[in-house]
Symmetry: none
Subunit: 243 residues, 2 copies
């Protein structure tokens, strides 16, 4: 009840301030993945609160997937944010392996449909032209990192729907559709709050900050072959860019 | 209920008619980007409806991205996001002018102090070495776009504190301190929720998604001369990256 009152006044509740502190320390590497956090009693002493408040903070971090508890053993840091390079050649599997994560990808849907005005403009095809839209979830070490929507122009990519359905990744599917190599033309980056569906898939709170990237990939002749929007769980991923 | 009845008969529901009116007035420039809309009570009086109906209309405009609400502050006309290129040469004033925005920068603090461990590692100087830390607010057409913290190593930049105090921008200050040109070595990007102080400065709600970039700028010999963290208001800025 105290928490609710604080929220209504626009102040940060104490349990949330404690969760914020711990989250910050984890993202700065003070606690690394796998580390045991201090006991509830030690955290209560450090922050000058009772154990109930500490438990509330930890439980919020557990909900976010940042902390895991093991009965009788305490609370452990689940995972440090994954570095993910964005640039001219962006390959999910390769990037994840380089970051020391086991890559995973779960296809949620593959749907042939007509291009919307925005998709058509990006892909340089007529509005209403056939495209295949896919939705997928990207995982690192089994944790959800990003939700992605990809739009593929059918006329330029014969057999793309079947190739995507094989589930062997984007690079493989594009290669089956005749595009042996592709590079990224542009990326647009902003931050948006997770909606209910995204929160569910990404295992974050509704309203949690996501990095949203919009990118265009083209074949060696410069023709767009994929228009993608990716929502990254901000607390689990850092996009990196080397000049 | 009245709204549903109207819909079923094929008439425009009242809330939709109100949304249409407001949309028209925004597109005609009666309310400009960033303007506060009249209160719910005032709109209810103007259209002769109850506040529930006004809220329904505003919520439709929020869904369309035309209006933003800030808890306790009311409803505002959304600005079209400013495109901000990030890359090897990143200059605030130039970038803003190119995006058609009038650039502004408000220095919040300039503070000489000792480098923290993280800052020292990034700048390749000893921990505790003297640095100057600045905090500033970047504006586009008078609206807050980003909060920035910059750390400058004093030993490499004689007179940097005085040069920054002149308030003529980073490029000018670095030039006064002997660095005629600088380029960006790396950028790290994630999304974080706005804390109370950031929300106040950026005029967003507490918890609103911010893009956080961390970057390192170096002189032509590759020595780091500025380590910066910038928190961008996600709803007002799109970072762009051309390959």
């Amino acid at each position: 009840m105290g928490d609710d009152t604080a929220s209504r006044r626009g102040r940060t509740p104490v349990w949330q301030a404690i969760a914020n502190s711990l989250r910050g320390e984890m993202s700065e590497g003070r606690y690394a993945a796998g580390d045991k956090l201090p006991t509830e009693a030690a955290l209560a002493a450090r922050f000058g609160v009772n154990r109930h408040t500490v438990r509330h903070a930890l439980s919020a971090l557990v909900d976010e997937g940042l902390v895991r508890t093991r009965r009788g053993a305490g609370a452990f840091v689940a995972m440090a944010p994954t570095d993910y390079p964005i640039g001219r050649r962006t390959r999910f599997t390769e990037n994840l392996r380089r970051a020391g994560r086991f890559p995973g990808r779960r296809i949620l849907s593959i749907e042939p449909r007509a291009a919307t005005a925005g998709e058509a403009a990006a892909l340089q095809i007529p509005e209403g032209a056939p495209v295949v839209a896919t939705h997928s979830l990207s995982l690192g070490d089994g944790h959800p990192l990003a939700l992605a929507e990809s739009i593929y122009p059918c006329a330029r990519l014969p057999g793309i729907e079947e190739a995507l359905a094989e589930g062997r990744g984007v690079t493989h599917a594009l290669s089956r559709a005749g595009v042996a190599d592709y590079t990224r033309l542009s990326t647009r980056i902003t931050a948006v709050p997770a909606d209910a569906t995204q929160a569910l898939h990404l295992q974050v709170s509704e309203g949690a900050p996501l990095v949203r990237t919009r990118s265009l990939n083209a074949d060696p002749e410069g023709r767009p072959v994929e228009y993608g929007t990716t929502w990254w769980a901000g607390e689990r991923v850092t996009l990196t860019l080397d000049s």
